[in-house]
Symmetry: C2
C-alpha cells in the first residue's frame, strides 16, 4: 500500500520544550539540530519569539535560528504570538514564521491574552508584510478541534480565521492543531476534508498531540482527507502550558514509522531519527503534567 509523500515538520525545539522544568542549553539544542538534519528533517520550528520572562527557555531563539539558517538544507521557522514577535523574527532573519491564533476564545485568552478578533486584526498587516518581505507565514490555528476551556470547536470558528487570512491573498499554508489531543479520527477527517474543499489552493498541516493515545489515529484520518504536512516532536515531548490537559506531541519517530510502514515517503531515516530522539529524551522531564479537565 502506498500514497502521496508527506512532509514531517519537527517541533521539538519549540513545542517540545514548553513544559520542561528547566531550559535546554544552547549546545544541546544545536546537537539536536545536527541530529535532526542528519536524519533527513528539513522543516523544523526552532523556537519562539515570546517574552523571556514568560518562557525563559526561548531566550536563545535568535541563536538557534542563526545556526539553523546557516545550514542550507534546513527550512527553519519560529513561532510568533504577536506583531512584536514577528518583528523580532524578521530582524533575526527568519525565512519562515508561525503565527499562532486559537479558534477558541478561552485558549486565545489564556495563551495570548487577547480576543480572537484582536489576534486577527493584528495578523492582517503582518500577512501583507510577510509577503512583501518574502517570508513564508504558516498560520497555526490552535484548539481547532477542542479547547480545555470552551469544549468542542465548531468548524465555523476555524473557518472564520481562515476566511479572514485568505482574504489577504497572502496565505499559503495553515496548520490545524489538536492542542489538547482530545480529537477523534472522525473529527480529523471531517475538518480536514471540509477545509480542503473550502480552500483548494491552501496547503494544510496537522499538529497533533497524543494526550489520549489517539495522535496517530487522527493523523491517519487527516492523511486520508488530504493533509500532507504533519508536525511531530522527537521522543513525544511537548505540550502547551496554557492548555490544561495537554500532553506530548505525537512523536516524530512514530509519525515517520507509520508512514514508512505504509510505503509512504517521508524522506526520513528511521535509525538516525531514533538517535535524534535519544538526544531529545535527555532534555528532561516536564515541570508538571497539567491535569485533564473534568469530563
Amino acid at each position: 500500500m502506498t500514497g502521496p509523500a508527506v512532509e514531517i515538520l519537527d517541533v521539538t525545539l519549540r513545542d517540545g520544550l514548553q513544559l520542561l522544568a528547566a531550559p535546554v542549553p544552547l549546545d544541546r539544542k544545536l546537537a539536536l539540530l545536527d541530529a535532526a538534519e542528519a536524519a533527513g528533517v528539513r522543516r523544523l520550528e526552532v523556537g519562539s519569539f515570546v517574552s523571556p520572562r514568560l518562557m525563559p527557555g526561548f531566550a536563545d531563539t535568535a541563536d538557534v535560528l542563526a545556526a539553523a539558517t546557516a545550514r542550507p538544507a534546513l527550512r527553519p521557522s519560529v513561532l510568533v504570538p504577536n506583531r512584536r514577535g514577528f518583528d523580532l523574527a524578521l530582524a533575526a532573519g527568519a525565512p519562515e514564521v508561525v503565527w499562532v491564533v486559537s479558534a477558541s476564545e478561552g485558549h486565545n485568552g489564556a495563551n495570548l491574552r487577547r480576543t480572537v478578533e484582536a489576534s486577527l486584526a493584528e495578523l492582517m498587516p503582518v500577512l501583507a508584510d510577510a509577503r512583501a518581505d518574502g517570508v513564508h507565514l504558516r498560520l497555526a490555528i490552535a484548539t481547532a478541534f477542542h479547547c480545555a476551556f470552551d469544549g468542542p470547536t465548531p468548524h465555523e470558528a476555524v473557518f472564520r480565521i481562515l476566511d479572514r487570512a485568505a482574504e489577504s491573498g497572502a496565505l499559503r499554508e495553515a496548520v490545524l492543531a489538536d492542542t489538547i489531543g482530545h480529537a477523534v479520527p472522525d473529527e480529523a477527517r471531517a475538518l480536514f476534508g471540509a477545509a480542503a474543499a473550502r480552500y483548494p489552493g491552501l496547503v494544510f498541516g496537522f499538529h497533533a498531540h497524543d494526550t489520549l493515545g489517539r495522535g496517530l489515529a487522527n493523523i491517519e484520518a487527516a492523511y486520508e482527507a488530504g493533509c500532507r504536512v504533519f508536525d511531530g516532536a522527537l521522543a513525544g515531548l511537548g505540550g502547551c502550558p496554557y492548555a490544561p490537559g495537554a500532553a506530548g506531541n505525537v512523536s516524530t519517530e512514530a509519525v515517520a514509522a507509520l508512514f514508512e510502514a505504509r510505503g509512504i515517503a517521508t524522506g526520513l531515516d528511521a535509525a538516525a531519527l531514533a538517535g535524534a530522539g535519544r538526544i531529545a529524551a535527555t532534555f528532561g522531564a516536564p515541570a508538571r503534567v497539567p491535569p485533564l479537565p473534568a469530563s
Copy 2:
C-alpha cells in the same frame, strides 16, 4: 457520530503482568478486580495456566479465577497454552478459556515450543471438549499481523488456523493479535475485513499493542471493518516476553475514551476506569523493555 456498541475486554491481570520484574501479590490483583468491576468491566483475562517455573507471577491464577467467578457480573477467562493448561482451567472452574496459537512459526516456536501444526492438532479435541463442557473457547491468534522473527504474516497463515478451528463447528470467537504492535491501519482494515467476509458467523476481537503508538489507529480501522471486541490493559501494561520488541497493550482507558468520544457505547465509566488504572500503575516496571528487532 455514533455506531454499534463495543465490548472492551481487560487483559491487565494476564498480558499486563507478563513483563513485570516481580509478581503482583494476590491482594493487589483482587483490588484491581474490584476496581475494574466497579468501572463496568465485564470480560477480563485473569491469568494463565502456564508453568509457574516459566512465569511465577501466574502461580495464583486459580485463586484469582475463583474470586472472579464468585462475582456474578464478571465473565472471566484464563489463557491456556496447551492441553495441560486447558485441563487445569477446567478443573479450576473457568467459564471461558483463551487458547493461544501463533500464525507464525517463529513466535509459536519461541512462545509455545512447538510447530503451528502441533498446536492445531492439540487444539481440535480441546474445541470439542470445551463445547461438551459448556466452556467458551476464545481462540487467540498471536502474530496475526507481524512476527519479530518471521516478518509480516500473510492472511493465509491466519486463515489456515481459523479454517481448521471452524471445521470443528465449535468455534464462536477469535481474537487476532498484533503481538508486537507493528501493524498499520491498512493492515488491520484488510485482515478484519477479509476475516469477517470469510467467517460470517464468528465474533472477532482485536488484541492490539501500542509499541509504535499505532494501537488506537489500528483499533479505529478494525472497528470500521466490523470488529466489535477490543482487548486493553489498564495503564497500558503488558507485552510478550517471547516477542522481541513488543511493548505495552493499548490502554483500556484510552480504548474506552476513544469510543466514548465517538459516541459509541462501551459500558465503562471513565472516572472509575482511571481509578483502576492507578492501581495497575502501582504494579511495577517491566523487568526489561525487549529491544526492537532491526529493521
